[in-house]
Symmetry: C2
Subunit: 346 residues, 2 copies
DNA sequence: CCAATCAATGTAAACCTTTACATTTTCTTA
DNA sequence: TAAGAAAATGTAAAGGTTTACATTGATTGG
């Protein structure tokens, strides 16, 4: 059984108010009294109940973080960044996963009611309506890569369009024409944006990307692996595979290796996100670098801005740009030598 | 502003008790009344405050999970397993990281007071005393890979000793004699156990492992990378590197590649944990397979056992055994051909 | 030596629920 | 139709805190 503040007060022969005062360091308490109380606290190993305190203070010192999933390095990094930023303020993190399911989102958001001072939601799949309907009105909310344009909330979006476009341009510049893409889910905003970027890069060169080279994955290693096996069966094999995240790229690499092909000699592969392990793969993976860790930090910092300065100001909409991390998994295609080869064959 | 149960009661023209009854589905309320209340709840978008409910019910429907770190696939998998098991019971997870710092452990444990129904702690580094002093007495606790032999708590331990021994035997059987190891921190129980297993495998063959081949890492890619660079400088280079976790193995692979060496042709590498990405590396990484995800599940299940059956029974001490995941990063050394080579040189 | 001031401490309301017990309303049945 | 039972609803305490306000005791100035 745990003791409460009343037990401490009784044992120390004072009122609970005085105990509360020494716990919170505030007010002036006769040092004699203070020490006596401290001694009792130590003896009873009394720990204040933060839930009760949160109730009356309307301050929990916790931030809620709702992610689609807890699986893999991407989310792991977001969590780490958020946790870092939160700990720096003496706060704590309450993490939940939604699996892109509106019921789970609702459950998680309910759970957080009264338990957190602010909420960060990352939900690239579940659409506006459902999400917004469940968002609490009483605490600050930051939307991370959510498919909503509601200007009422603070939002942070990574530039999937720009990143994918840049990567596609890079591949096109290397001479690749047949570039297969591995997309995430149909209605995943991140996947959609990346697809848009990919297509746009082609369009700007008056090229039409081949729709039959757009393969549907689900941001998992396995889905990348399977889609790539299909791709490798194609008679006119693409010269490059652009996976819309690194996990799928990792799956793709495995499938390619199993087929006895060499990367990037036989086929180029690149990913998106630039998760920490990307640079350690072999060949090291060329990827679109998203500052994943910083995404978490930024979201938390935004939350604290709201929390401290009672900034009633208009909501902020941040756009996080990406950079290319060029490594060794993509190769220039020598068109001339290709032509020559064909000529030789002819 | 959020509404509370009193607002709902007023608006519906009933008492808060009745509102509470319809919220909790219990008791019999005239269906007419029930519907009216439900309508008001809907209208006001009322969500009960679980913190307040937790206070009086002494049940929060949350489980605390305290990990050394939130970084990387290993912890990510533990979290995922725990989250899965917890969600299956309609519970939620409160995750915190301690960074192996006793102050942070204390802070996290304080935070959890009154906020969780049970706590799972993984703390391979901070020692018994400090940990035990801060553990709550009022809720079930499960210790995951902690350096304590206190029989009072439920514990789950992975068999680091057995796993490392098995892997070392595997390497010895392949003909390796000079096997370098990359350890975790000095006072990390997991690292200690693995080191013990490694040494024991040698001892059982009446061999003495070369202490100068025990390199100190910290379970991170970078530390594995750096230690390996040192190793590669050795005049009498080891034929195999056994990293005590996969992250360090990944770092080792990078260092080896940078040196222009081939795995496993020039040097064998293996890891520990068998994180999901291990099988996707190239060469795919031979590793000691720890059922990471299941560790989380087991811990949670143990917690629910305590929570449901008020099992006052003696605490359980589970020992999780490992298996070898043999892949392509380790090669048999042909001792004969080595000898021949030397002879040729001579 | 008394009133005024100030420091130290105590009392009780508030935060938002749930629920045992009390009360009111409705329904049965003689 | 009245009494008694059953059903529906209400009242208030409890859970563990914080804090505005009240009270006590000591100190100071006249």
């Amino acid at each position: 059984m745990h003791f409460n503040i009343i037990d401490v007060a009784k044992k120390a022969g004072v009122s609970i108010a005085t105990v509360s005062r020494v716990i919170n360091g505030s007010e002036k308490v006769k040092s004699e009294t203070r020490e006596k109380i401290l001694a009792v606290i130590e003896e009873l190993k009394y720990v204040p109940n933060p839930a009760a305190r949160g109730l009356i203070m309307r301050k929990t010192e916790a931030i809620g973080l709702l992610l689609p999933d807890l699986h893999g390095e991407f989310f792991s990094e977001v969590i780490r960044g958020a946790d870092e930023a939160v700990q720096a303020q003496g706060y704590h993190l309450i993490v939940s996963s939604s699996h892109n399911d509106s019921k789970e989102i609702e459950a998680a958001l309910r759970f957080m009611r009264g338990r957190v001072d602010a909420i960060i939601v990352m939900s690239p799949q579940v659409d506006s309506e459902i999400l917004l309907a469940n968002l609490p009105k009483s605490v600050p909310v930051v939307l991370l890569n959510c498919r909503t344009s509601n200007p009422h909330y603070d939002t942070i979006m990574t530039d999937g369009f720009g990143g994918a476009k840049e990567m596609t341009n890079y591949l096109l510049d290397l001479g690749h024409k047949r570039i297969a893409v591995l997309t995430g889910g149909e209605n995943n905003i991140e996947s959609q944006e990346r697809l848009r970027g990919y297509r746009n890069a082609f369009a700007e060169r008056d090229l039409t990307p081949n729709r039959s080279l757009e393969f549907r994955g689900s941001f998992t290693e396995v889905s990348g692996y399977e889609a790539t096996r299909e791709i490798l069966l194609l008679k006119d094999r693409p010269t490059a595979i652009f996976a819309f995240n690194d996990s799928m790229a990792i799956g793709a690499i495995k499938a390619i290796r199993e087929e006895g092909l060499k990367i990037p000699t036989d086929i180029s592969v690149c990913g998106f996100d630039d998760i920490p392990v990307a640079k350690f793969l072999s060949p090291s993976l060329t990827s679109v670098c998203v500052p994943i860790h910083d995404l978490g930090v930024m979201a938390v910092n935004r939350v604290f801005d709201r929390l401290t300065k009672r900034t009633k100001g208009a909501s902020a909409h941040m756009f996080v740009s990406t950079t290319l991390s060029i490594r060794n998994s993509c190769k220039r295609i020598n068109i001339m030598s290709n032509l020559e080869k064909e000529e030789n064959v002819a």
